[in-house]
Symmetry: C2
């Protein structure tokens, strides 16, 4: 004892300060990790007033396509529909959509645009609604997007989407112009595996169950 | 300098240790606060198999009422419907319900039970669905529960509830036996002001807007 590594008072103080600094750094890191884990959290309410989403969709389609401004008289401000579009258009790798009714031309255009950009898009929908006039499902299939539907008595009544396996979009809103412009609706946009995983698992379960090899033809 | 309060090496070490301990304590407290802030977080998927909720509802009605076991042959295990019922029946002070369609006898019974227990129950619903056969709205009103409805062309299509201003219950599920037993549906149960507040604000907005003094009679 008393050698080179003995804890002299100065060395003890330095050690304690180092421990304090380390503790602070760890606390800060943990806090930031927690903040980073849930950065997207937004609640959207509808009805959303009629608005022009041309610039938003053109910009997302790629450089050059946003050149000419839309001549329509609709307002261009941010609204619940534009927020929903922005969250969808943020997709870079994958988009799972599980939707009872899908007839909104703007949302349909956004989904086809993502497919063209190379995002892996998969859609699950309800067989009864799918065939109605105005449904976007036919256009999605024409564009080469995989769509599967139920063959059940009950409705496939979900209204959720998962962006890049990272962001969950869920609520009461069907993707129809009627619902967007006229109904009282909510959409919750939230990041975090604790929300995304159960919904993604549900999607995969339904996706497999609705595999066309399982369809029965009466 | 060199007086009683001069920072001798030992005192410096003690101070540094105290700082370290304080930092650790603060970090621990922050971590626990964050954990405590979101204790309820559950995702329920439907369809939920037909099940007997008699014992659950009788137990919630008060002591003594659960005496006789239900003779029905339905299974008694935990399921999505029983989980939803448990979250509702946990209400002690207030319950806001904002629901397009409400016809489930079990959920209707749970809501009337809470009203009898002194919970302040308020219901907002859709005018079109409210009058259909099987709706629980008439029974709720007979029991003395305040109900308000829209007078709009669009649907009041929300499907959410707030328990004690603390827990948000939201999703695709209308409270109907058809939806519970036959449809693919989701319900997210989540605690935390960041989720509850926007929905509670939306409820209060709608509640005021649907005040009967604003009804128009054509």
């Amino acid at each position: 004892t008393g050698g080179m590594w003995a804890p002299g008072p100065q060395r003890r103080a330095g050690l304690a300060l180092a421990v304090a600094a380390l503790a602070l750094a760890l606390a800060l890191a943990a806090w930031q990790r927690r903040r980073r884990r849930c950065p997207v959290r937004e609640v959207l309410f509808f009805p959303s007033p009629p608005s022009c989403t041309e610039a938003l969709l053109a910009e997302a389609a790629g450089p050059g396509s946003a050149a000419r401004p839309c001549p329509c008289p609709l307002p261009r401000g941010e609204c619940s529909l534009s927020r929903l579009l922005r969250h969808l258009l943020s997709a870079r790798r994958s988009l799972e959509i599980c939707l009872f009714a899908f007839s909104s031309p703007q949302l349909g255009r956004a989904v086809r645009l993502l497919h063209r950009r190379g995002v892996r898009v998969r859609v699950v929908t309800d067989a009864q609604y799918m065939g109605l006039q105005g449904s976007q499902i036919g256009l999605l299939r024409q564009a080469g997007i995989q769509v599967r539907h139920d063959q059940e008595n009950g409705y496939m009544h979900h209204k959720f989407a998962v962006v890049d396996g990272r962001v969950l979009i869920t609520g009461s809103l069907n993707w129809t112009t009627q619902a967007i412009q006229n109904n009282r609706e909510n959409v919750l946009v939230v990041e975090g595996a604790e929300y995304v995983k159960p919904f993604l698992d549900e999607f995969e379960r339904i996706w497999e169950e609705y595999n066309p090899i399982n369809y029965r033809f009466f």
